[in-house]
Amino acid sequence: MSDLALIGPILAAMFAAATPLLFAALGELVVEKSGVLNLGVEGMMLVGAVCGFAVTVQTGSAVTGFLVAALAGAATASLFAVLTLFLLANQVATGLALTLFGVGLSALIGQGFVGIPLEGLPKLHIPGLTDLPVVGQALFGQDIMVYLAIAAVPLVHLFLYRSRAGLVLRAVGENHTAAHALGYKVLRIRFFAILFGGAMAGLGGAFLSMDYTPMWAENMTSGRGWIALALVVFATWKPVRAMLGAWLFGGVTILQLHVQGLGIDVPSQLLSMLPYLATVLVLVLISRDVARIRLNAPACLGKLFHPDA
């Protein structure tokens, strides 16, 4: 295989590999903009992945599968929301609990579904365009979810920076006391933000189990939820940068699969470390700029709010 012929599929695969990260990161970005740090992304992705998969196997309808995955993600997130918003539990601890719980729950639900294959979604085919060399398959040969994730980027951006609801959400994340004094329902706004984050994580997980792999295996997200959390920091809470970050990680993931194909002899386990090490690297690169993080991070991120206090 010539190198050029390899680039097309690598590029196409990169966009697909970026999709679950993009869904989850966009959701978490909105959650964090409202001032809530939900570390349970990994757990919500897993629950979404298994529920979407199970429903699709049983109904044969991928649309239903994705809808249920989003609902399941949101339902899982609602546990986090009730605990942190109304029962004033520590967000870090509750997020960790959500991940641990999600790992267990998804494994339990998925017991009967291990090893069942699924077809995956049909890929777009536009004669002429999809057949273009190098970029054809990457740009015009993906399935609907890949395009949906990309479409969500400008939507989230417009919501946050051009709509009144988005302005209120950012205000709540910036200064919940002031927002409360102005009469905004801080807890209600955060509740819906958390549900949205859960639904997006659920979709990201379902993309993995129903489309990308497509099959169910325990713990199949293998850290993607955590990488999505790192992506939000990397993106300094900006949707477009989150997309670029997701593509970068998609690229790293695909690259490690192809390195051996390129004739470089490195043990596969060491190559598999790449996405995780890359995450640490980008976190370090972005976090060292303290001033930038301060200007962009929602000021109330992770802080508890009690309306009567």
């Binding site: 570390l39 546990l79 009730v82 605990l83 109304f86 029962l87 004033l88 539990a89 520590n90 870090v92 601890a93 509750t94 960790l96 609990a97 959500l98 641990l100 719980f101 999600g102 790992v103 267990g104 729950l105 494994a107 339990l108 998925g110 017991q111 325990e218 293998s222 850290g223 955590w226 990488i227 959390l229 790192a230 920091v233 043990p267 386990q269 060491l270 598999s272 470390m273 995780y276 090490l277 995450t279 640490v280 976190l283 370090v284 976090s287 060292r288 303290v290 993080i293 009690h306 009567d308 206090a309």
Partner: protein
């Protein structure tokens, strides 16, 4: 929220600090009852085979101690860190590194060991875990990177490293290409403390860690500094407590203890290095730390309970065909219920309309 309200207490309730863990356990059992019922099992029988049957034999009690040992070692260190708001969630990776370095020494001195080998392995495991934990400490202090994410990423890296060594350098030369090391020799194996069980010297190390942890938390000035940093970092800065030093101390300490736990697994119940040395002890230890109220005595009780959930899961799988994954569900639920009921420590629940007077 007008019918049920939370009203701040003037002082935190000391009673509730002890009551809420029990409440959480009770709620978990209740949920388990409902869950088993929904899954079509006889709930009482299932709960019995999960939580009681495993500890009706000496061997079972021994297994409880065996499983509690790494949990205690990891949780004591984590708890000290959590008190200072140092969120090391990389105990699983640090445990794995301890197994690689501590166990690696056993392999390196294979056939030429002596009485000195075991102490050296303990130290080696501690150093391995501490080095792995030093990475997030350094990245947080030098680059402001969140130790939550970096320590977690290193868990995956550590597991892949373990996978690599058992397929590569540590693989048993006579093992027919199985991804396992040689079985450790006697002088690289932790002695059994309780005949008829697998309880090993690691249990004693865990108790020592508990005692040391208690002394640090309750009596030393360092423990006081940790508490202040965790509650109010600005006050710690005002008082002149060196926060960097505390981040280093807590991460290195918890890494070292997790490393010893990992070494204890390979040199104890497993007896060799394999691709899977922990059913998630490092993660469960997070639950143990919280459930134990970040306090050594609580951690001991919580570790025994979580150990029970591990062996209960295995036992119920064998006895009733219950899915093993239920262990994780129970553990997650327990932490949820604990976090939820903790609200009672600082707030009173009031029923009725808002105007009710205090």
């Amino acid at each position: 929220m007008s019918f049920i309200r939370l009203e701040p207490r003037g002082q935190a309730s000391k009673t509730m600090v002890y009551v809420t863990p029990l409440l959480a356990v009770a709620l978990t059992l209740l949920s388990g009852f409902i869950l088993f019922l929904a899954m079509g099992f006889d709930p009482l029988k299932a709960l019995y085979s999960f939580f009681v049957a495993p500890v009706t034999s000496v061997r079972g009690v021994g297994e409880l101690v065996v499983k509690a040992t790494p949990l205690v070692l990891c949780a004591v260190g984590l708890a000290i860190g959590f008190r200072a708001n140092v969120w090391n969630i990389g105990a699983e990776g640090q445990l794995t590194l301890g197994a690689i370095t501590g166990g690696g020494l056993a392999l390196a001195f294979y056939g030429e060991g002596g009485w000195w080998l075991l102490p050296m392995m303990v130290i080696g495991g501690a150093i391995g875990g501490a080095v792995w934990a030093a990475v997030p400490a350094f990245l947080r202090l030098r680059f402001n990177a969140s130790e939550i994410l970096t320590s977690l990423m290193l868990n995956y890296v550590a597991l892949l490293l373990l996978n690599y060594v058992v397929h590569g350098p540590f693989r048993d030369p006579d093992g027919f290409a199985f991804p396992e090391s040689r079985l450790f020799e006697a002088d690289a194996t932790l002695p059994i403390l309780w005949a008829g069980t697998r309880v090993h010297l690691g249990a004693l190390l865990a108790l020592l860690a508990l005692a040391g942890g208690w002394l640090l938390i309750a009596r030393t000035f360092i423990g006081f500094q940790i508490k202040v940093i965790g509650l109010t970092p600005a006050a710690a800065g005002y008082a002149g407590f060196d926060q960097k030093r505390i981040v280093w101390l807590t991460l290195l300490l918890s890494g070292a203890l997790a490393g010893i736990a990992g070494m204890g697994e390979v040199a104890g119940p497993i007896g060799q290095i394999t691709a899977s040395i922990s059913p998630g002890y490092g993660y469960t230890a997070i639950i143990v730390a919280f459930l134990g109220r970040l306090h050594p005595v609580g951690i001991l009780l919580a570790a025994l309970l979580m150990a029970l959930s591990f062996i209960g899961g295995e036992a119920a799988q064998i006895a009733m065909g219950l899915p093993k994954a239920i262990t994780g569900v129970f553990q997650g639920m327990l932490l949820f219920f604990l976090l939820a009921s903790d609200v009672l420590i600082r707030y009173r629940v009031r029923f009725g309309a808002r105007r009710a007077a205090a």
